[in-house]
């Protein structure tokens, strides 16, 4: 019964979604009597989608083996957290989550948005329904999560052990919130284009959604990076893997959009450009969904194995992006020019930010899709990895970060570059000191890491400079948000540069009692023990670690064997201190009874994720600050 309830709710939501689209379009074209129905329909549609998703979670919690999806992805012996997370740890469930988040976001827009012109809002909801309808159809016709399995088997097949990790359980939902927030921004852009209403009001309505989705994407990327770091056991924190790029590209576009929408909201400039970026940002989240969900990444062959799904998402992608670009081409002429500004001004710096972000986005996109195109066209297989991305996107990112330091110190509309040099004299001094320090006290570390550290110091100083000589209690919350986010970029950059320049690595075959030095630590190999978990067994290495005269402590890296499905994973053991991490991995044993041990000392590597967290927290402060100010001015208008 649970499965049938879920499926029925899904069909009803689909019907309401179609209704929302039709009523919305008719209302925009003059049928005012239908306009009042659009908001309630959108709210109920979101509720029904949420009910459907809750039913799926219930099925997973009960391990209902009469449902095909549960059989293929769950197991009655699994810890409950992974039964719960298993609901979206598979293709069908994650697509249902996607649609649910999309519909609930539509409900929220319908329920709360009051500032925008009613006509534009209804056009926005119609656009949101158009996106939703495609994904409902995809679920119902190509990936039904509620399909029954007859006869019901005795036991389920289990969840991929790599995915059995608390961090990863909440990783996909975080990214989906980000992706879907961009779809709302896109719908606002389409709505504003349809009703010729691109201006500051539209930007203010769209901004919280862009900010919100950007916060989730930042959190998702940061958490995903840390997950890959400790779970894969390779010691790296970013691999330029297509799946990682699928989350990075929407983030790059959202970052550009976030800054241009601020220009539009406060200065009423960059109108056509902001709308274009909204289209690009949503396209990137569609491409991200396509890359991850179509199976095309395992191999273009996997795509051909199940062509219905891949082709369906590809068709949706072409339809929405093509439709939006067409609408943009037809209507961009009606978007009036915004206010002017000079090249040296905050607007000018933000335009440079946007262009660089777009260029980096283009580079990542080309590098990610190139192997797919080449293999499809010629059958030749190739891979594009870190050497390509680091050498092309790396230098551009450093320029971008330098400009980021200048932007907040510039005045809107017009400024003088001589004044600017005065304002950045302190940051430049700090950078010069950092450079001198590196030159005199540290052995040579390569150009990019040197630039990274020097820049991080200067940018860190410059990002707190907007608070200089200001009344700190009267400074608005969103200014603090910007300062913390920019400082977070500097902190993360310092972590990346330090990790790539100063990491020490030791790889040994060791016997019990032997000691190894890495960084400030001495690691003694004590031996190995067998251990068992709820659904795995493991060989656990016993390491006794000391640092200087400090107390010794134990680290236990494991090689785990999972029973269902049979898989082996390496669990790294990590010791964190204020100045970095000691990262240990246990390898195989050889015929002489020696064990392979891999040790890394990574100074200040933790700054990478600390910076990521600061960026997201800065975003959150901005969001809260903006929403509060908008509400206050709305109240003032209502009473004045």
């Amino acid at each position: 019964m649970i499965a049938e309830t879920g499926l029925a709710a899904l069909w009803l939501a689909t019907a309401l979604c179609a209704l929302q689209l039709v009523f919305g379009i008719m209302a925009v074209r003059g049928r005012d009597d239908l306009a009042a129905a659009v908001r309630p329909v959108a709210v109920v549609q979101g509720l029904l989608a949420a009910i459907s998703f809750l039913m799926l979670i219930w099925l997973f919690l009960r391990t209902d083996l009469s449902v095909e999806l549960v059989v293929r992805n769950s197991h009655s012996e699994k810890p409950w957290l992974y039964k719960f997370a298993g609901a979206w740890g598979n293709h069908e469930g994650s697509m249902l989550l996607w649609v649910t988040v999309l519909s609930v976001a539509g409900s929220l827009v319908a329920f709360f948005e009051r500032r925008l012109r009613e006509n534009t809002l209804i056009a926005t909801l119609a656009a949101q329904a158009a996106i939703g309808l495609g994904f409902y159809a995809f679920l119902l016709f190509a990936s039904n999560p509620f399909a029954r399995s007859t006869p019901a088997p005795e036991e389920g097949m289990g969840l991929n052990p790599l995915l059995q990790d608390p961090g990863l359980a909440f990783h996909p939902p975080t990214l989906y919130f980000g992706y879907v927030g961009l779809s709302v921004a896109f719908s606002f852009a389409v709505g504003a284009l349809m009703t010729r209403d691109v201006g500051a009001d539209f930007a203010r309505a769209m901004r919280p959604w862009v900010l919100g989705s950007w916060i989730f994407l930042t959190l998702g990327i940061t958490a995903g990076s840390y997950w890959a770091y400790y779970e894969l056991g390779w010691g790296g924190w970013w691999f330029w893997d297509p799946v990682e790029n699928a989350s990075l590209m929407p983030w790059l576009a959202a970052t550009a959009l976030l800054h241009s929408v601020t220009v539009l909201a406060t200065r009423d400039s960059l109108r056509a450009w902001t709308v274009m970026l909204a289209v690009v940002a949503f396209s990137m989240s569609m491409i991200g969904t396509f890359l991850v969900r179509s199976g095309i990444l395992t191999s273009v062959h996997a795509f051909a194995v199940d062509p219905r799904r891949g082709s369906f998402i590809l068709a949706l992608l072409v339809l929405y992006i093509g439709g939006a670009l067409l609408l943009y081409g037809l209507r961009v002429g009606t978007v009036r020019e915004g206010k002017k500004f000079q090249a040296v001004s905050r607007e000018g710096a933000l335009v440079a930010n946007n262009l660089l972000l777009t260029a980096i986005l283009g580079i990542v996109l080309i590098g990610t899709l190139y192997p797919l195109f080449v293999e499809t066209l010629t059958g030749e297989q190739l891979s594009v990895g870190p050497p390509y991305f680091n050498s092309t996107a790396g230098p551009l990112a450093l320029i971008l970060i330098a400009i980021m330091a200048l932007g907040p110190l510039l005045r809107w509309r017009k400024d003088d570059w001589r004044d600017l040099i005065n304002r950045i004299s302190f940051p430049i001094l700090f950078s010069a000191l950092a450079f001198a320090g590196l030159m005199f006290f540290v052995s040579p570390i390569g150009i990019l890491p040197t630039l990274g550290i020097v820049l991080a110091v200067g940018v860190g100083a410059a990002s707190v400079a907007p608070l200089w000589k200001r009344n700190l209690r009267r400074t608005p919350m969103f200014t603090y948000g910007m300062v913390i986010a920019h400082l977070g970029i500097a902190v993360a950059l310092a972590g990346m540069a330090s990790e790539s320049a100063f990491t020490e690595e030791v790889l040994v075959a060791t016997t019990p009692g032997q000691e190894h030095e890495v960084g400030p630590y001495t690691v003694r190999f004590v031996g190995v023990d067998p251990v068992a978990g709820p659904n795995w067994t493991a060989i656990e290495g016993q390491l006794a670690v000391t640092r200087g005269d400090g107390e010794p402590f134990g680290l236990m890296p494991q090689a785990r064997m999972f029973a269902s499905p049979p898989t082996e994973t390496n669990e790294a053991a990590i010791a964190t201190s204020w100045d970095g991490q000691l990262y240990t991995v246990l390898g195989n044993s050889d015929a002489q009874g020696r064990w392979q041990l891999r040790l890394w000392w990574k100074p200040f590597v933790t700054l990478i994720w600390l910076g990521g967290g600061m960026i997201a927290f800065g975003g959150l402060l901005s969001l809260v600050g903006r929403v509060r100010r908008e509400r206050r001015s709305a109240l003032r208008e209502a009473h004045g």
Partner: protein
Amino acid sequence: MKAKHQRLTLAVIAVVAVIGAGFLALAGLRDNAALFRTPAEIAVEPVPPGQSIRLGGMVAEGSIEHLPDGVTITFIVEDGEATVPVRFSGITPDLFQENSGVVAEGAFDANGVFIADNILAKHDENYMPPPMEDMASEATAS
């Protein structure tokens, strides 16, 4: 400068930036994209030392040797037509064994030994690099 001209200037700069990024990307791809090669392909068309490629094939039976340092191994990758000697320092993936498929990332040294930086294991017991699958199915067909 009028607002209209400003918009035109911005549009031109944007187009130039995107085209510039495209050129940068293509130049980067020409230098850095790693091709997938099998021993047979390398025998016909040798890969110059230092150029990154991915080498795919089967680990030859009885070819894995552990060097005395305990962390370096050598083995031979074959595909039924040709062989390539490989050296690798590090922890091999759990599914790495003789007579099974392997993908190694790295480059040849001056002596024609393939120095692997990384040995790929998809975390799937049924994984095979796609060309190997073709090979296996050809083998069963013939």
